[in-house]
């Protein structure tokens, strides 16, 4: 099997997503997230150069500036202010969940051969494998971590997986929509970050598994 360059980059992104699962140190998580998103921006730029769709260069620049620089920087400053260094505790120990993530990568490869309609010559199987593996890593992150900030990172990783799927399988959605998505993600992270401050202030922790006051 010969990997195209963009497929290799997509795999790099998937591996960084799995590495996020491997540590509960929040700043390391954010650095990995930043690298992971840079790989995705590189995939986008590479595909733009293959297909000569110029709008993808713009999208790649947007992904790089907003998702791999601004958002990690913002979240970093949030955790610095609320003074939380590590995730209080994961439901599945970090090394174990990293191995689960690696297992998911294999599973994604099998699933990606089953997606109906995506078995044509032009379709990149490894691209969708990487995208799906990133999606699973994000879900795993959200399910196993307790700190509110890990939930945000999990959401961002899921969103990246979906974005990578769109880029590798459909060569990107129209420019207006991609830009709208970027803006939306940025605003969502801002709102969640502000809420995070308040959670720390009123509860004195950011452990979302303890937010169970409301029930019937």
């Amino acid at each position: 099997m010969i990997l195209d360059t963009f497929e290799a980059l997509a795999m790099v992104a998937a591996i960084f997503a799995i590495l996020i699962l491997g540590t509960t140190h929040l700043r390391t998580n954010l650095s990995f997230y930043s690298l992971h998103t840079m790989a995705i921006a590189a995939v986008t730029a590479w595909i733009a150069s293959i297909t000569h769709e110029d709008h993808l260069y713009l999208v790649a620049a947007g992904v790089f500036i907003i998702k791999s620089c601004s958002i990690p920087w913002f979240l970093n400053s949030v955790i610095k202010k609320i003074n939380v260094g590590t995730d209080g505790g994961a439901f599945i120990a970090a090394p174990l969940s990293m191995h689960l993530g690696a297992l998911m990568l294999g599973l994604s490869f099998m699933i990606s051969q089953q997606i109906p309609g995506l078995i044509g010559e032009a379709d990149s199987r490894l691209g969708s494998t990487a995208a799906m593996s990133i999606l699973f890593s994000g879900v795993l992150l959200m399910l196993t971590r307790r700190a509110a900030i890990s939930q945000i990172v999990g959401f961002l990783v899921i969103e990246n997986g979906i974005y990578l799927f769109a880029v590798t399988q459909t060569h990107g959605m129209p420019l207006m929509i991609e830009m709208g998505l970027l803006l939306e993600v940025l605003v969502a992270v801002m709102v969640a970050g502000l809420l995070l401050f308040n959670i720390k202030k009123s509860f004195e922790h950011i452990d979302v598994s303890q937010l169970t006051e409301l029930k019937d």
């Binding site: 959200m142 979906i162 959605m173 006051e213």
Partner: protein
């Protein structure tokens, strides 16, 4: 393009203004008047669509049909009612000595206007990508409304709301990507996300991918609408936000997500009528109604009661979408919005006056305030679908339609579930209304607080009396 500006200019500028006007009392009076004015503008701009049923195209990807017009009018109407009542709500809070800070109120009014803007754009979208962006924007703009009270409970509710809805809706984005891929890999191979184009060339799309996309969109937008296993955020958010905000969430936000489901399901219906995957929608609706009616039996919180009743009504609307009937979907949405907004506003009044949300601490509201007791009873009947209110016509037509559609098993289950929820709501409301008064009411203004709810109850009553099933399926069937 100009029309688009007319539709959005007022809420956008009001959102900015309400942040900067120093005197909050002025904002409280000014915003309601201007939002009613906005209702007039919307009706005026969209009247060709309203009268002739002609589609209005603004730019590529933004267009509105008759159904969208009705939903925009409904959303604007709901927001105007709630914001008008909010003035009384804040005045009563002040009179009881727990006034809100000015900054809090400024943020409230700014968010309400952004929320209205986001909801209006949901119904203007003719593009699945824009639709996703607009629906996510409704989540983000309404999060400050849920967090309004700024206590621990509100914080927890807002966090759940934001995370559950954002992740849920991320799956709708995946579904959108699948549908885009379906158009690329169809026989025509024209990549598009434009909903009307997708519908017109539905036969040529790659069906397996379209089906996959539909399922993901159904789950994603279903989370936002509160269908059964994914409803967890809904009772929390509705119960912890202030009454006018809960009314807006229930009366207009849920309709936005359901509108998304409707759009996607009309694509798959055009591609292959009566496909197995589309049967899923009606089943999901039935499951939601059954689950909600059982959960309604055991409720301890007045506002959570109405939140679960909203889930039940969402189930009914999803059922109508599953039957492929646009008019019935809108009729149910209209009646639910009118009755539920009235209920949330009245419940807010009662909670403010009695100082408790707990159902077992409230008794004999009829002694404290007969008008409110009467209105709550009428609105509760309206929301459960009892005759002669409008929801009865909608639910009856839905059930008879599913009987002729040979889905009698679903209709049967649905009937039992509706009966259970009727009994549950009657029992809870009966305990609150009747008997000797237990709680001491603080000072309140019964008439001023009842105007909007009374009008809404009257509205759904008139709908029930005027609208009959034949008229509904006649000229209205154009929507379909």
């Amino acid at each position: 393009m100009n029309d688009l500006l007319y539709l959005t200019a007022l809420p956008a500028s009001l959102a900015l203004l309400s942040l900067f006007i120093r005197d909050v009392k002025l904002t409280r009076k000014l915003v309601p008047v201007l939002i009613w004015w906005q209702l007039g503008i919307v009706a005026l701009v969209l009247h060709p669509c309203l009268i002739n049923g002609q589609r209005m195209e603004f730019t590529s990807g933004l267009a509105v049909d008759k159904m969208g017009t009705y939903f925009i009018l409904l959303a604007t109407f709901v927001v105007s009612c709630c914001i008008t009542h909010a003035d009384y709500f804040f005045a009563a809070a002040e009179a009881h000595g727990d006034a809100y800070e000015d900054q809090q109120l400024r943020l409230f009014y700014a968010s309400v206007n952004l929320f209205l803007l986001a909801m209006t754009s949901v119904f203007l979208c003719d593009n699945l990508g824009y639709l996703w962006i607009a629906i996510e924007a409704t989540t983000l703009s309404s999060a400050p409304l849920v967090y309004f009270e700024k206590n621990k409970f509100a914080l927890e509710a807002t966090w759940k709301y934001l995370i559950v809805c954002s992740v849920g809706i991320a799956f709708a984005l995946l579904g959108t990507v699948f549908i885009f891929a379906a158009s690329q890999r169809g026989t025509l191979a024209v990549p598009t996300l434009n909903i009307s184009e997708l519908i017109s060339q539905a036969q040529t799309l790659n069906f397996p991918l379209l089906r996959l996309g539909f399922i993901f969109c159904l789950i994603g937008y279903g989370t936002k609408a509160g269908i059964f296993p994914l409803h967890t955020w809904l009772p929390d958010a509705h119960a912890e936000s202030p009454a006018p905000a809960s009314a807006m969430l229930s009366g207009s936000l849920l309709n936005c997500a359901l509108f998304g489901i409707w759009k996607v399901s009309s694509i798959i219906n055009a591609a292959q009528p009566h496909s197995h995957v589309h049967q899923l929608v009606a089943i999901l609706g039935t499951v939601t109604v059954v689950a909600a009616s059982l959960l309604l039996l055991r409720q301890h919180n007045f506002k959570r009661l109405w939140a679960y009743s909203s889930i039940e009504n969402v189930g009914l609307m999803v059922f109508a979408i599953g039957l492929g009937s646009g008019p019935l979907f809108f009729l149910q949405a209209l009646n639910h919005s009118l009755a539920k907004v009235a209920l949330f506003l009245l419940t807010g009044n009662i909670i403010q006056a009695s100082g408790t949300k707990k159902l077992n601490k409230m008794h004999g509201v009829i002694e404290d305030c007969p008008i409110w007791a009467l209105l709550v009873t009428l609105a509760a009947f309206a929301v459960t679908g009892a005759p002669p209110f409008g929801a009865f016509v909608a639910e009856m037509s839905m059930l008879s339609l599913s009987m002729t559609d040979e889905r009698w098993a679903l209709a049967l289950i649905m009937t039992v579930a509706i009966a259970i929820s009727f009994v549950a709501i009657c029992a809870h409301v009966g305990k609150v209304i009747l008997g000797p008064a237990k709680q001491g009411f603080k000072k309140f203004q019964p008439i001023r607080a009842s105007i909007i709810p009374a009008l809404l109850v009257l509205g759904t009553l008139v709908l029930g009396l005027v609208v009959n099933t034949e008229a509904w399926s006649g000229p209205w069937s154009m929507i379909k």
